[in-house]
Symmetry: C2
Subunit: 151 residues, 2 copies
DNA sequence: GCGAAATGTTAGACAAGGCTAACAATCTGC
DNA sequence: GCAGATTGTTAGCCTTGTCTAACATTTCGC
C-alpha cells in the first residue's frame, strides 16, 4: 500500500525520515518543558514593573490557578535559579530570570504584533500569542518581525 | 510606580483585566492537555495511510520516545475513546479518533504551508508547525489560510 | 493595638508523561 | 518448526503541575 506504483495521491506524500521527525517532536517536548517557567518569569517581570513587586496572590489571579500551585511552581523556579524568594515576602528575579523574562517579553511582543498585523482581534491575538510564543524558532521570529515592519 | 502621572512609557502599558488574562492562560493550559493526543492520532492516521497499519514501534520511532511510553499513552487514548487496541495487535482509530486526526492534519497543513509561504525553510517549518498547530484559534487559522492563498 | 481579613505555606492526593528493567509474544530465516 | 531477533507489555520509579484542606503570618480597619 505504501509504495504502490499506482499511488499518485498528491499530499500526504511526506514520509520524511522518521529520525528527523523524532527530532522535531523532541524539540517540541523540550519547548513544552519551559513554557510554564517562561510564563511565570514574564509575568513576574511585568508585575514588578507595573506594581513595584510581584506577589504570589497576583500571580495566582493572573495565571488562573490556586495559591498552592503558585507556591510550588515558585519553589521550582527558585531551585532552577530564576527567582529568589523568602517566606511571606515578594518575589525577585535573579539575573538569569531577568534575562529570560526579557527574552520572553520580546518574543511575546513580536508574536502578538504579528497576529495583530494579520488582522486578528486583540483578545484572540493575546490568547494565541500566549501559546504560540513558546514554539517559535529564532528564524520564524525574524520573519514575523519583518512582516510587522513592512505592514 | 504603576500610576505615576509622569509615566509616558509606550509599551508595557498593558495591565489589562487580570481575569481576561487568567482566561487566556486557562485556554492555553487546556490546549496543552490535548497536544499529545493530537500528535498521536495525527501520526496514527498517517501511518495507517502510508504503511497500512499503525504499530507501536513505528510510533515510538517517530515520536522519539520509548516503547513503554507509547504503550501507556495508547492506553490513555483508548480510555478516552480515540483508538481501539488489542494486545500485540496494531492500533485503530475510532470514529472520534479519525475526526480528530482529520482536524489536526488540516491544522498542521495550514500552519506548515503558512510558515513556508512566509519564507521559512522546510525543516524549521516542520518543527515550528508541530508546536504551533496546537495553539492556533479558528480565526487565526483562517487568516493563515487566506495568506497562503494570496501568496 | 487588636481582631478580622487577606495572604502565604504546608501536607498530601492525583493524573500525565517520561524512563528502565524484566518478561512475554510474535515473527523470521534457515 | 525452532532459535534468535523483534516487538510489545507490565511493573515500578520519578518529576511536573494541578487541586483541597488545614494552618500560619501579615496587613488593615477601626
Ligand atoms: Mn505563554
Ligand atoms: Mn507570554
Ligand atoms: Mn504537534
Ligand atoms: Mn502535527
Amino acid at each position: 500500500m505504501h509504495d504502490d506504483p499506482h499511488e499518485v495521491l498528491p499530499a500526504a506524500s511526506d514520509d520524511r525520515s522518521p529520525d528527523l521527525r523524532a527530532e522535531a517532536f523532541q524539540g517540541v517536548r523540550a519547548a513544552r518543558r519551559n513554557e510554564l517557567a517562561e510564563d511565570y518569569v514574564e509575568l513576574i517581570a511585568e508585575l514588578i514593573h507595573s506594581h513595584g513587586e510581584a506577589r504570589p496572590v497576583d500571580i495566582a489571579t493572573r495565571m488562573g490557578v490556586t495559591a498552592p500551585t503558585v507556591a510550588k511552581t515558585l519553589d521550582r523556579l527558585a531551585r532552577d535559579g530564576l527567582i529568589t524568594r523568602a517566606k511571606y515576602r515578594s518575589i525577585f528575579l535573579t539575573e538569569q530570570g531577568r534575562a529570560l523574562a526579557k527574552e520572553c517579553r520580546h518574543r511575546h511582543e513580536i508574536v502578538l504584533r504579528f497576529l495583530l498585523s494579520l488582522g486578528l482581534d486583540a483578545e484572540t491575538a493575546e490568547r494565541d500569542a500566549e501559546g504560540i510564543e513558546h514554539h517559535v524558532s529564532e528564524r520564524t521570529l525574524e520573519l514575523f518581525a519583518a512582516f510587522v515592519s513592512r505592514n
